[in-house]
C-alpha cells in the first residue's frame, strides 16, 4: 500500500483550519558556521509564494502544499506548544542535504 502524502494529526488539522485551512510543508536551509548547509522540514500555515515547485493536495477543509521530496516519506504533521506559542512541526524527518541536487530523499 502506498504511504499517504503526509499524515496530519487531528490536533494539527484543527490548528491548520483555525489558521485559515492552508499548510505548506517545505525544506528550510540552515547554514553552518564553518560553511555547509542542511535543510530542515518545516510546516507553515500559509500558501507558498512559488506554487509551481509544490504539489497540492486537498483533504476535507485543509489545503496542503508540499515539496515533492517530502511527500510519501512516512512523515507526520503535529502541533506543539501552548497558547500563542502553538506551532506546527514535521515529525519523523531527518535533515536533508543543503544541495537540492544531492538530496537523499
Amino acid at each position: 500500500m502506498m504511504d499517504p502524502v503526509i499524515e496530519i494529526e487531528e490536533t494539527a488539522a484543527a490548528f491548520i483550519k483555525q489558521q485559515g485551512g492552508v499548510v505548506t510543508v517545505r525544506l528550510s536551509p540552515r547554514h553552518g558556521c564553518c560553511g555547509g548547509t542542511a535543510r530542515i522540514a518545516i510546516a507553515e500555515t500559509s500558501t507558498p509564494k512559488e506554487i509551481s515547485t509544490f504539489a497540492c493536495h486537498q483533504s476535507e477543509e485543509v489545503t496542503l502544499w508540499i515539496a515533492p521530496e517530502l511527500a510519501q516519506q512516512g512523515l507526520r504533521l503535529r502541533v506543539e506548544g501552548w497558547w500563542k506559542l502553538k506551532r506546527l512541526f514535521v515529525d519523523g524527518a531527518a535533515l536533508a542535504s543543503g544541495h537540492a541536487d544531492t538530496q537523499q530523499h
Binding site: P29, G32, A93, A94
Partner: protein, 355 residues
C-alpha cells in the same frame, strides 16, 4: 524505504570549504603571520580604530560571523521542549553542568601541570582562559550539518539549538567568570558583560528582529531562499578574515613557540571526545533513539568558537594567548567532528530506532 531508514549521508556531501576548513585555517595562519611580519603597518593601522577598548574592525568582523547564525535561529521551536525530554535533559546537563568544568579540568591539568616544562606560567594561564571560553559555549550552527550527516531528527535539532542559545544568554558570563576566578585570572565583570552584550545579546536581538520583520514583510520562503542564502556565506568568510588579522598580531608568539599549537590542541581534542562519549553513552543508557542521541552529543562536542574567539579578544586582546587557544579550537574542529560523525554512524545499531 522510509525517510528514517535510509543510509547516512557521507562527509562528501559537505562542500569543499567546510571539508577542508583546517587547511583554510592553516592558510589563514600563514597569511596572517606573513602580513604581520612583512607589512606590520596594516595590523598596526587597524588596531588604532578602537572605541572603549573594543577594536572596531574586529567587532565588525565578529558581528559578520555571528549575525547570520543568529538570524536563522527559530526561537518558536522552544515550544517543542517537552517533546524529547530525555534528549534535552542530557544535552542541557552535559553542555552547561559538565562541559565547562571538564574543559577547565583538562586544560588546567595539561597547561599547568603536564606541559609546565614547555609553557611559561603566564602563557599557560592565557591558554587556560582560552580553553575556558571554548568550553562555555556549545555549537550553534554547525550542529545542523553534523545532525544531517548522522541523520539526526530535524525538529529535535531545531529545539536543542534554540534552547541552548537561550541558556547561553544567561549562563555564559557567570560560568566564564567563575572558572576564570578559580584559575586566578582576574577579569572585571563589566568587561565580561560588555563582551556578552556585544557578541551575544546584540547579534541575537538583531537576528531575531531581522527574521521577524523580514518574514512578515517578504515571507518565510524569501527569507530562507534569498536572504539567508545571501548572508549565510558571510560567516565563514568573516571567520577566515578574522583569523588572518588575529595571526597578523600573533606572529611573534607562533614563531617563538610553534610547538604550542600542538600542545594547545591536545586537551581540546580530548575534551571533544570526552563530551561526545558522555552525552552519547548517557543517551544509550537511557535508550534514547539514535536520531536524538547523535545531534544531542554533537552540540556539546562542537563549540561556538566564534563567540569564544570574540570573547578572548575582548577580554584579553588580539595578541593574547587566550585568543590563540580559541583559534586552535577552530583548527581542529572539522576533522574531529567528522570522526565523531563516523563513530555515530557506525554505532547506530546499538540504539533504538524509535522512542
Amino acid at each position: 524505504m522510509s525517510h528514517q531508514e535510509k543510509a547516512a549521508p557521507s562527509s562528501a556531501d559537505m562542500g569543499l570549504f567546510e571539508r577542508y576548513l583546517s587547511l583554510w585555517v592553516a592558510a589563514a595562519i600563514v597569511a596572517g603571520i606573513s602580513l604581520g611580519q612583512w607589512a606590520p603597518a596594516v595590523p598596526e593601522a587597524l588596531s588604532r580604530f578602537e572605541y572603549a577598548q573594543v577594536s572596531i574592525p574586529i567587532a565588525v568582523l565578529i558581528w559578520a560571523m555571528i549575525f547570520p547564525m543568529m538570524a536563522q535561529i527559530d526561537f518558536s521551536a522552544i515550544a517543542g521542549v517537552r517533546r524529547q525530554p530525555k534528549g534535552l535533559a542530557i544535552t542541557t546537563t552535559v553542555n552547561w553542568l559538565i562541559k565547562p568544568f571538564t574543559m577547565f579540568g583538562l586544560a588546567w591539568l595539561f597547561f599547568m601541570v603536564i606541559f609546565k616544562p614547555w609553557i611559561p606560567d603566564a602563557l599557560a594561564s592565557q591558554y587556560l582562559a582560552g580553553a575556558i571560553l571554548l568550553g562555555a559555549a556549545p555549537c550553534t550552527a554547525m550542529v545542523f550539518v553534523w545532525s544531517y550527516l548522522t541523520r539526526g531528527d530535524a525538529a529535535y535539532t531545531l529545539v536543542q539549538v534554540a534552547l541552548n542559545d537561550l541558556i547561553m544568554l544567561f549562563a555564559f558570563a557567570p560560568i566564564v567568570v567563575l572558572l576564570l576566578g578559580i584559575s586566578n585570572i582576574q577579569v572585571p565583570w563589566d568587561t565580561v558583560l560588555l563582551s556578552v552584550v556585544l557578541y551575544i545579546v546584540i547579534p541575537l536581538a538583531a537576528g531575531y528582529f531581522t527574521r521577524k520583520i523580514l518574514i512578515a514583510k517578504r515571507g518565510a520562503q524569501w527569507y530562507d531562499n534569498v536572504f539567508m542564502k545571501r548572508i549565510g556565506p558571510i560567516t565563514p568568510i568573516g571567520l577566515i578574515i578574522t583569523l588572518v588579522l588575529l595571526f597578523a598580531f600573533q606572529g611573534d608568539v607562533i614563531l617563538n613557540n610553534p610547538l604550542h599549537i600542538v600542545l594547545i590542541a591536545i586537551p581540546l581534542i580530548l575534551q571533544t571526545f570526552l563530551i561526545f562519549f558522555i552525552a552519547y553513552g548517557w543517551a544509550k543508557a537511557w535508550r534514547v533513539p539514535h536520531n536524538i542521541a547523535a545531534p544531542g552529543a554533537m552540540i556539546g562536542a562542537s563549540n561556538f568558537f566564534e563567540l569564544a574567539v570574540a570573547a578572548a579578544i575582548a577580554l584579553f586582546g588580539l595578541q593574547s594567548g587566550a585568543a590563540l587557544a580559541t583559534v586552535v579550537g577552530v583548527l581542529v574542529e572539522v576533522p574531529l567532528m567528522l570522526a565523531l560523525v563516523r563513530i555515530a554512524n557506525n554505532t547506530r545499531q546499538h540504539f533504538p530506532t524509535h522512542a
